[in-house]
Symmetry: C3
Subunit: 272 residues, 3 copies
């Protein structure tokens, strides 16, 4: 084996914190590759929500430290879905590891696309499981740890055609007359609602915009640069910290006030 290759594994899952799943994955990596630091990106994603997790990963991936990303949201565990490792960047600069169910796609795109991928099938780099269902512990964590130690990615299993990887669908906005129809991608802890809307797309609508959600009466929202420009109870449209338009309220949950959740359709209309 060559020298240790990666120092950091950045880890995202829907394991939550009520059980020991996250801790066991850390333990397995620590046992195989003690030189590695594991960074927890987020684990309280909604169980089985591959779409939400793929968006969280794509927001995060531009900030992760160089090395390996381990992502496990895996409703198809135990079925025929493939477990994969996918190189991104030049010369395997980074590796994404997880189930081939669309979870890794948007992050891979952010990194310039997958240059090489393998299916994780070599039992020499897996734990022998007492049962079949904990792939994070038995398949994904060992793969990450062995790669970090310098094992070649091609040792982990056969190379697969990158065109066969399950794609992810990022919802697009559409124009309806003067209006722009988008949807909520993400509701954060504070109740801010990120839309799939680029600030430039919404520019023609002006500084005060009509917001229509389902059959609710239209509300007006002010384009602002900071929360501080809004009065208590006022709805704003703000370029959020990832560069997308978000529906917000100052020190309050816009999600709760307006009944928004991931996937809700939001229609932005010119006023007056």
């Amino acid at each position: 084996m060559s020298a240790p290759r990666y120092e950091t594994v950045s880890f995202l899952s829907d394991y939550g914190h009520a059980d020991e799943f996250v801790g066991v994955v850390h333990s397995v990596i620590r046992s195989i590759a003690p030189h590695v630091t594991v960074i927890d990106l987020v684990h309280d994603l909604a169980p089985f929500d591959v779409r939400g997790a793929s968006l969280a990963l794509s927001r995060t991936v531009q900030y992760v430290a160089p090395g390996i990303v381990l992502a496990v949201v895996d409703p198809g565990v135990g079925t025929s879905r493939r477990a994969i490792a996918a190189e991104v960047g030049d010369g395997g600069e980074g590796v994404l590891i997880g189930p081939d169910n669309g979870l890794l796609g948007p992050a891979a795109l952010m990194c310039g696309g997958v240059t090489r991928a393998v299916e994780l099938t070599n039992p020499a780099y897996q734990l022998v499981p007492p049962g079949p269902t904990f792939a994070g512990r038995d398949v994904f964590a060992p793969a990450a740890a062995h790669l970090a130690r310098g094992v070649a990615i091609t040792e982990l299993g056969p190379e697969i055609d990158t065109h066969t990887l399950v794609p992810s669908l990022i919802p697009l906005t559409r124009a309806e007359g003067d209006a722009l129809v988008g949807e909520v991608l993400w509701v954060d802890r504070y109740g801010n609602c990120q839309l799939n809307v680029d600030p430039g797309e919404a520019a023609p609508l002006g500084d005060v915009v009509g917001v229509r959600i389902g059959d609710e009466p239209r509300r007006s929202a002010r384009r602002v640069h900071t929360f501080g420009e809004l009065r208590t109870g006022q709805v704003g449209l703000l370029v959020d910290s990832y560069g997308l338009l978000a529906v917000v309220m100052p020190q309050a949950s816009a999600a709760e006030a307006l009944g928004l959740e991931p996937g809700t359709t939001v229609r932005l209309e010119p006023l007056g």
Copy 2:
């Protein structure tokens, strides 16, 4: 003092994440033994639930990295319960640290039993507390950190007879005619319900098994190898990732659907 001896402290508690308890324990260990990596196994265990925590620890311990396990679920803090450090494996390969209340027992058994134990009474290896109630910070974390630095276990306090350690009771199944009566050990985040039933014990019941919970009408459950074999709404019996039989439903919470929680009695019966 000799050279640093342990590199890893694996830490489990019922401290939760709402307060700074976990962070303070990390800080104390970091201050005394900066070379140590602390792995968080799980902290959102039910408050004061020694039995549930001892089971979580016994599931986890086979995967933890070599070194020290620090476990704190301690309803008797401030009473006469002993604080202990217990060596397991040959030559003190591993050390379990925590209250002597049954929490460490099942994990110690998984490691082949306790070979030597001391009571943590030496104030030279404790913090001077402003009050008496935070043993994790003042007694257990310093003990772990000093051991990791190479302090001999016998420096931490007097050796105690390992036969006087508080035992843990793991519930056994019992046969009632053709039926097998067990109980729920653990409900995980996804609502899967681990039973105290070995797959072999249940084999004579066949491929479709009657499941009776309290006075509820009997339901039938299919023995399956993966979630993918079950249709939506169908109940399955699956060998879980720890090798025990679990009551599951595909992408749904069996616990919620069937009203199961840790300790619930489950009766498995042959059908037809």
Copy 3:
């Protein structure tokens, strides 16, 4: 640049665990200063609760490892509130980084006061944000990481008069006749209610004390040293692990039983 200066960043926020905020801050620090260990103190503080967070930080700071404290509870992000780094102790032994909104004040006092402070304005040590609202990622984490690498604090921005830092108000008790009127500072996971009352202040009230909360009938509480001295359902006054008086119940939530939360006024009266 000089050699690495700090090895540890202790991190507290109201980011919670549902989103990737904490993970992104870790990632940014890891990317800039890979030698640093980040210790998570606590992140599930109530959103925007600067007062509660400043108290949590002041409880914790005496235990943190030497180095940098990064604290982000920042309802004024995007307004004119300053982002600061404040040296405490001799010769910049420790540095507190966060918004200048009162959050850092009590912790700074515990460390002997601020000796030098700068406003974080130098874009060379910040990330270029896609939007204006994630100061933890774009301003505070880079400042912590660059300081840890050995960048001089005065490189991060202009020095500011330490007398202009926003102060924090710690509520004082007051006497009303024989009674002592205090308030709840903190309710922990177990429902124990820390008061702003020094045990010595309450000594004249005797061993059994009347406790009055709002218009509720007076209850009696026993001064005890440990939870073990209390019977089920009994209310106790105990010197807690931080040396302050706390209203407690054995293996039960005093907060729930008595309707206490942070800020609730509690009147302690002599009985008989």
